[in-house]
Subunit: 260 residues, 2 copies
């Protein structure tokens, strides 16, 4: 049974995860962060201990959740303070095997969502992608995740990498398209809110369909006149012009199964 | 006062618009479409007349709404059957001046939304972008639009072009990103629904913020290791690899105000 948890990290994900766990019957007993201020800030939210000295972390915890940047994980492991403990990380693109030289009990606890400090999130809807090095640990993680989410998925490291990559397309790249739309409208004194019903519909549509079947617009119709007009409208910005042409071609190639 | 309307076109937009207008006190009295079958299909939905012969359109209507492809508008005007009538089109990227050699009463009636035949839409939420050649006609269009939508916007032809272009980024390009995410997950036996909470959050976030301030992911952090790993994961597809690099660079340039 996992009852006591140490949270390594105090960023956006660590913060939301700590708060969600603390609402359940599982308790985060200590927060570690490189910076004392961040550690304290998060610890104060749930009234638990904190430290910025990795040597001072509680050695009697049932689970150590590492929620730091991908690059920082290995360095934390090298301190050996978590050796032989049950350790998980929360990263989309880091293989579970990163733990194998440090402990016999390990896994991954990856909530698939984008977290911002200021926005509350409903953890119960977030897909929890879990993986563990044996059945016992997997069961422990299943029980733990079901305390905070109703969407538990068994995902291996290879699949998780692909999910993380897909999330870059569906979240980061999508947000970039929104940014450009915002910028174009702002330059022409049009409020971005005019696009919101369209954006909502574009998103709602894919919930019951393969987005491939829903592609519309000048690129898929190969409507050269509209494409040319749009590129002219973008003449003030080389980078938008290039992006417009590039993505338009990609849409056309995708629809026509060209792989160049 | 506009009471009798002839609808020129029977595609997705024409269909949804006809149905919305017919629910109001304004009546579509006739549908024209190049193909008799499509004209009949739409006319049957609201029990009105129809024709596939442009010479047979009702000459006593108060308004002619042209809802056909951009390319087809001019050819319809050249038949001169609508000469001197009050004519509007519904196109994002066609200038209002297209009418000026044919009539003294004209305008634009552009509902900013993506329409699919099978999906119902709530017209009341759709921004109606209107423009007219004089105040009287503008008032007529204002009254007409307020019968079907609560979001009426006065938008000139230049702004409308920019809105249409922005919509390509925020709708067509976004859908392409979803298509690629879908494809990557499908190839790895992961159901696309795993991304839905993330997609919903990505969209909800921008409703109160400039998307530029919300950009996350490896590209904006310039996290070369993750970017390299992702590109490796895409080695099976040249086009995805190129798109990934291209959009990542664009995100970085956008954030750092580079214009190359």
């Amino acid at each position: 049974m996992i009852n006591k948890i140490v949270l390594i990290g105090a960023g956006n994900l660590a913060t939301h995860l700590t708060i969600a766990l603390n609402k359940s019957s599982k308790k985060v007993v200590q927060i570690y962060s490189r910076t004392r201020k961040s550690a304290k800030e998060l610890a104060d939210k749930i009234s638990c201990k904190y430290t910025n000295n990795i040597l001072e972390i509680d050695r009697n915890s049932d689970l150590y959740i590492i929620a730091v940047s991908d690059k920082a994980i290995e360095n934390l492991l090298k301190t050996k303070v978590m050796n032989d403990k049950f350790i998980v990380h929360t990263a989309g693109s880091v293989n579970m095997n990163i733990f194998k030289n440090y402990t016999n009990n390990y896994g991954v606890f990856y909530p698939l969502q984008t977290f911002s400090k200021k926005r509350e999130v409903d953890f119960s809807e977030i897909p929890m992608c879990i993986e563990a090095n044996n059945d016992n640990n997997l069961n422990l993680l299943k029980t733990l995740s079901s305390e905070i989410s109703k969407d538990i998925r068994l995902i291996n490291s290879e699949q998780r990498k692909q999910i993380h990559l897909s999330a870059v397309f569906a979240c980061n790249f999508v947000n970039h398209m929104y940014s450009i739309a915002y910028d174009l409208l702002e330059k022409n004194d049009v409020n971005f809110d005019i696009l919101k019903p369209l954006i909502t519909e574009t998103t709602n549509k894919i919930y019951n369909n393969n987005p491939h079947d829903l592609q519309t617009g000048p690129a898929i119709r190969n409507d050269k006149k509209v494409i040319k007009n749009h590129i002219e409208l973008l003449s003030h910005s080389k980078k938008y012009k290039k992006l417009y042409s590039f993505v338009s071609k990609s849409i056309y190639k995708f629809a026509n199964k060209l792989n160049k």
